[in-house]
């Protein structure tokens, strides 16, 4: 699970992440290009994508990503 923060204000992103105690890693706004996630930028937020390790979009959109993640989790158990 990777969070891509679109907050231009790092302090705001930090305050939010601290408040929610985000357990996952974050890519900050100024690192998006270097992270490669620039190619996956959504038109609006929030947005969810399920990517394979080779960068293919397996699912997009909250419902689709959740359903696919559940399916994959079941396959692994």
């Amino acid at each position: 699970m990777i969070h891509v923060s679109l907050d231009r204000d790092k302090k705001a992103a930090e305050t939010w992440a601290a408040k929610e105690a985000f357990p996952w890693p974050t890519v900050m706004m100024d690192k998006i290009k270097a992270s490669g996630f620039e190619d996956y930028m959504p038109r609006a937020v929030p947005n969810y994508k399920l990517l394979s390790k080779d960068g293919k979009i397996v699912a997009e959109g909250k419902a689709e990503v959740f359903a696919k993640a559940t399916e994959l989790t079941k396959e692994e158990t």
Binding site: M1, I2, H3, V4, S5, L6, D7, K10, A12, A13, E14, T15, W16, A17, A18, E20, A21, F22, P23, W24, P25, T26, V27, M28, K31, A34, S35, G36, F37, Y40, M41, P42, V45, P46, N47, Y48, K49, L50, L51, S52, K53, D54, G55, V58, K62, V65, F66, A69, T70, L72, T73, E76, T77
Partner: protein, 137 residues
């Protein structure tokens, strides 16, 4: 952001991976206890999978556990699994895959530690990434 839904969706089975949350679990009636590590949690089927001391995986209904254990799973379960999954995956070369190649670069990932972000490094390549684009506003 609906954090609860997000945590549910991102819950990952971590069978076969390293120690996560070894603890003493207690049955609902308090008559039995056992040692084991949390390995998977499903809100859909309301079950938990624990790696027992002897190395066997057991999946059972959450309702069979004590209130303390149920509260632990409710408040910490998904966070523990997600935190563990963040750095786990197949033990292959980060440079071999498109996503991990970029994420492994110095300074790309950060993770909240207390009140501020600290550098975080991807050490292994997961098969899949849930990428959540969002902002505090």
């Amino acid at each position: 952001m609906n954090l609860k839904i997000l945590l549910f969706a991102a819950s990952l089975a971590l069978v076969g991976q390293g120690p996560l949350a070894a603890r003493t679990w207690t049955s609902a009636d308090g008559s039995q206890t056992f040692e084991g590590e949390l390995r998977a949690l499903s809100e859909r089927t309301k079950t938990v999978t624990v790696l027992m001391e002897g190395g066997k995986l057991r999946t059972f209904a959450i309702s069979l556990l004590s209130e303390t254990d149920r509260n632990f799973l409710k408040t910490e379960g998904h966070k523990i699994l997600l935190a563990a999954s963040a750095g786990e995956g197949a033990d292959d070369n980060l440079q071999d895959h498109k996503i991990s190649k970029n994420l492994a670069k110095e300074g790309i990932l950060s993770k909240i530690e207390g009140e501020s972000f600290a550098g975080h490094k991807l050490t292994k390549t997961p098969d899949y990434y849930i990428v959540y684009f969002s902002a505090s506003w």
